[in-house]
């Protein structure tokens, strides 16, 4: 039902619900804070990945099921075999490789297959990775570092300091698609088509350079991002916060020397692949980002992705839902999972066991096995108006009484 939004009512709504609403355009124009508020929309996001190098991936890159089959005697090309025939045979062979001994598809049930001997990971103890040291971040906030969970080799930062918490990089870094500019790292394209988005709000900011107590909101965006004609995100657009409580997160933090440090909090954001609605879930997520004078925020969103959730949403796609919130078509799920593995250059069991192997967070109290893996994203966010109202679409109800194009 479209309701009349009078100016009185709209301002009342803002007063009631506004999380970060700049009301003075002059203040907003500077990209600075308005009465301690500022809102942002993510304009870019990607995994913090380092490109594969010989030292990091001494055995080369992972293989997909087709490549694995091609390595077998049966999979070699036969003399005089046409391209078409060979492609068909490879495809059939790949399907065999994707089938576990019990008949299950290995993407649907990766545990049914053993570890993939062709899967390559970043095992070098002194591997260099992108991202932040989450423990150092916590220390900055006066929070005691977590006890070392599931002993693992911490990664080195570009500055040579040990402690980068980005074990996800170890799991996927030797896969051709998971390079910094690889196809698995261009998922922001979906964000720019309006499938999903992320909003960030800062409140209670007295000083944007040094402030020892700020409030931070991290939300799923209920609106598609607004773009210019050349597909660049526009600043100062208005976006509404997702009304689903699961996708609304609040935390606190500090600003030190123009850099924002937030306290750990669980964050969920949307993802859409092949029309299936999925989510990205980070536990104990933190933001470490620079507030630039032109109003942009850029930095790192880091946290721990539960391995099972990560696999089900990012690799197996069994968590996929349709537009009505019902489980997605199983054939679509299976096709997407196997297709993605084939195109992106890994096998589902290879990834599954790698994620489990490098998991470094949230040990199971009973088994001691780590259930989450550290993961980091680089992001950039630009100024936006973030409102907490249930927005409407004209699709809900076509405007009646329009003047039919007359002026």
């Amino acid at each position: 039902m479209v309701t009349v939004m009078t100016k009185t009512r709209s301002f009342a709504l803002f007063a009631l619900f506004a999380v970060s609403v700049a009301t003075e355009s002059a203040a907003a124009a500077t990209g600075a804070f308005d009465h301690g508020h500022a809102g942002f929309v993510f304009s870019d996001i990607r995994f913090a990945l380092t490109d594969a190098q010989q030292a990091q991936c001494p055995h080369g890159l992972s293989l997909n099921v087709e490549q694995i089959f091609a390595k077998t005697p049966e999979g070699r090309r036969r003399r005089g075999e046409s391209d078409k025939d060979y492609a068909e045979r490879l495809n059939a062979g790949a399907a065999k490789v994707s089938t576990a001994a019990n008949g299950d598809n290995t993407c649907a049930n990766p545990a049914a297959a053993g570890p993939d001997p062709y899967a390559q990971t970043v095992d070098a103890p002194d591997a260099i990775a992108e991202g932040i040291d989450i423990d150092a971040h916590l220390k900055m906030l006066g929070i005691a570092p977590r006890p070392q969970a599931c002993p693992h080799d911490e990664l080195l930062g570009a500055d040579g300091r040990r402690g980068i918490d980005n074990q996800f990089y170890r799991a996927v870094g030797c896969t051709h698609a998971f390079q910094s500019g690889g196809p698995a790292n261009s998922f922001a394209t979906e964000m720019l088509t309006g499938s999903w988005g992320i909003l960030l709000t800062l409140d209670g900011v007295d000083d944007p350079v040094n402030d020892d107590a700020v409030e931070v909101g991290i939300y799923a965006n209920a609106d598609p991002i607004m773009l210019s004609a050349d597909r660049k995100p526009l600043d100062f657009a208005t976006y509404a916060i997702d009304q689903n409580p699961a996708f609304r997160t609040k935390t606190t933090g500090i600003i030190k020397d123009g850099k924002l440090y937030t306290k750990p909090v669980d964050v969920r954001i949307h993802d859409v692949v092949n029309g299936m609605h999925l989510e990205r879930y980070l536990r104990d997520a933190v933001i470490e980002a620079t507030l630039s004078p032109d109003g942009e925020v850029s930095g790192v969103l880091a946290g721990y992705a539960p391995v099972s959730t990560l696999y089900d949403n990012k690799f197996g796609y069994s968590a996929g839902k349709d537009g009505a919130g019902q489980p997605a078509n199983p054939r679509l799920i299976l096709g997407t999972a196997n297709g993605a593995a084939r195109v992106l250059g890994y096998t589902c069991p290879g990834i599954y066991y790698a994620l489990k192997h490098f998991a470094d967070g949230h040990p199971d109290p009973k088994t001691g096995e780590c259930t989450s893996i550290s993961m980091q994203f680089f992001f950039k966010a630009i100024p936006a108006f973030v409102v907490d109202v249930k927005t409407r679409s004209t699709n809900d109800r076509i405007e009646k009484g329009s003047n039919g194009g007359r002026r």
Partner: protein, 562 residues
């Protein structure tokens, strides 16, 4: 949504307006010493329908679902109005082609199986036989609406004949009617508003009743006379003050009046130029096609709400912070707009520097260059559009090199770059009247976004308007509101729009009279339109003087030689 505001507000507006008009009429009757000057008139005109009038007429006659697939030629702007240009513009072969396409599409839709039930005034005996009586009923019904007067017997016979010829060729009654309808739609009697003078003696007379109805309907509703108005013309009701008042008040109280007001301001604000407005997307990325569309609508909605729904003083248009926004506009205005798709009634914050329609994107972006603002274009537009002051064009040999160099570090702001023009004798005359206002609007870039610096240098937004000094952009709003020429200009523009021509010297007393009415009624636009619609001057026409005998003789000789 504004739609509901307007719909709900329409009834309120109607009642409020009716009350106000009664009071206004009472004031007039009570006599304030002013009576309407004797009409002087001008020759009856032939006015081409504007695109908006064409579309509205078709929608009103056949229904809004009838498509009009054609591109209309740009209007000719004369004396600041395309409506004045309608009496001087020609009809090009391109236009005829487009009219033909439109007519074919309209006729096909009107008589297709889906609409036929609704549009046919009769049911033919059979689609396979020619039903003359039914064809005649169809021609008479739609001919009267399209020609805005009853058809003569000869005209009826001609268009029924067309239908019969069509039937003979195509073998279907409705196909024959389609041909006849195309003929009606292509007739000059429809495409042109051909005014007829009432017969009589003396140089000044008035339009005949149907021409009166037409002038009245297009002025107040931007559309063709409805059945009731045509009936009033037929019955002679429009020839008497009381009957005319009844029709004028009916039209003003109708929802269509808003379309009439919007059409006038669309024309006055030169919104036809949006058709060719383009901005460099690398410089103004936020100026999207949505902004292009919504900017015009924002201003027209603001005008409707201010003048009609809220029944405010016309001059408040230059100071009001009340407006309507979409999210696309919010990006440029840098204000939040909660509604995702649609319009939201809002008020710009007091310190937003947004007051008045001259601070809207529709004005600021329209009167700028594709990649930079323009104090000169904006200053000129304020002078010409809102104050009816004519500013001559630039001399032919003017050097624009510096002013076009918007990134010049030595002259970082437009004020710096324009100094040369303001001091050069051949330029300073005009620039001195344009720049002081235009430079004040430099706080808005070429897309209309607020800024305080240009190329890193602070913008000096001080200026003046005819003795009214101000230190920043907010001063322009009040200066325009208080300028004595502001309401004068509207009166002049409104009357020119209503009659479709420039005013004459002999009409000065009438203009003064109209201004007096406007001022006395509190500068309310509906009352001004009512006063025009009820005045004898509005319908007055001058008979062409008989040609002198020697000219007739010369013409005759010329004809013989041929």
């Amino acid at each position: 949504m504004i739609v509901h505001v307007a719909a709900a507000g329409g009834r309120r507006r109607g009642m409020r307006l009716a009350l106000a008009l009664v009071v206004a009429a009472g004031t007039l009757l009570a006599g304030c010493g002013e009576t309407e000057p004797t009409p002087t008139g001008s020759a009856p005109l032939v006015r081409r329908l504007t695109e908006s009038e064409y579309r509205a007429s078709i929608a009103d006659i056949f229904g809004a679902n009838v498509p009009i697939a054609a591109r209309f030629e740009d209007g000719l702007r004369i004396e600041g109005l395309t409506e004045v240009g309608t009496s001087e513009a020609g009809v090009s072969p391109f236009s005829v082609e487009q009219y033909s396409d439109a007519a074919t599409g309209i006729a096909s839709a009107v008589l297709d199986a889906e609409n036929r039930e609704r549009t046919m005034p009769c049911k033919p005996r059979s689609a396979d036989a020619f039903d003359r009586a039914c064809a005649q009923a169809f021609v008479q019904k739609y001919g009267t609406r399209l020609f805005r007067r009853p058809l003569s017997a000869e005209q009826v016979q001609r268009y029924v004949g067309m239908a019969e010829t069509g039937f003979d060729k195509l073998g279907n009654f409705y196909s024959g009617l389609e041909m006849s309808l195309v003929g009606l739609l292509m007739s000059p009697e429809f495409l042109l508003r051909i005014e007829h003078a009432r017969p009589g003696k003396g140089p000044v007379t008035e339009l005949d009743a149907y021409s009166k109805a037409t002038r009245l309907a297009y002025f107040l509703t931007d559309s063709t006379p409805d059945d009731e108005l045509i009936q009033a013309a037929t019955s002679g009701e429009l020839d008497h003050r009381r009957g005319l008042e009844k029709q004028v008040d009916r039209l003003i109280a109708s929802p269509k009046f808003e379309a009439g007001v919007r059409a006038f301001f669309w024309d006055m604000l030169e919104f036809d130029k949006f058709e060719s407005l383009a901005k460099d997307p690398t410089i103004y990325p936020a100026f999207t096609p949505d902004v292009l569309r919504d900017a015009q609508e924002q201003t027209l909605r603001t005008i409707s709400a201010t003048l009609l729904r809220d029944h405010r003083d016309y001059r408040d248009l230059f100071t009001t912070r009340d407006t309507f926004l979409t999210r696309a506009l919010g990006v440029i205005y840098q204000v939040p707009v909660a509604t995702r798709n649609g319009w939201e009634e809002e008020q710009f914050p007091a310190d937003s520097h947004r007051a008045g329609i001259q601070s809207h994107i529709s004005f600021l972006a329209l009167h700028s260059h594709p990649g930079r603002s323009s104090p000169t274009l904006r200053g000129k537009a304020i002078r010409e559009i809102f104050l009816c002051q004519e500013v001559p064009g630039p001399p032919a040999n003017v050097n624009f090199a510096l002013i076009q160099d918007a990134s010049n570090k030595k002259f970082p702001t437009a004020r710096d770059r324009l100094t040369l023009h303001r001091t050069q004798p051949s330029c300073m005359g005009c620039h001195k009247i344009m720049d002081p206002i235009g430079l004040t609007l430099e706080n808005f870039d070429g897309a209309g976004r607020f800024r305080t610096t240009e190329n890193g240098a602070p913008i000096d937004a001080s200026g003046d308007l005819d003795g009214h000094d101000f230190s920043d952009v907010d001063g322009v709003a009040q200066a325009l509101h208080d300028h004595p020429e502001t309401p004068h200009c509207l009166v002049e523009r409104m009357y020119r729009y209503a009659v479709g021509r420039d005013t004459t010297f002999d009409e000065r007393p009438y203009m003064d009279y109209l201004y007096g009415v406007f001022e006395r009624d509190g500068y309310h636009v509906p009352e001004l339109m009512r006063a025009i619609a009820l005045s004898k001057n509005f319908y007055a026409v001058r008979r062409p003087a008989p040609a002198p005998a020697h000219e007739l003789a010369r013409a005759s000789e010329s004809g013989e030689r041929k």
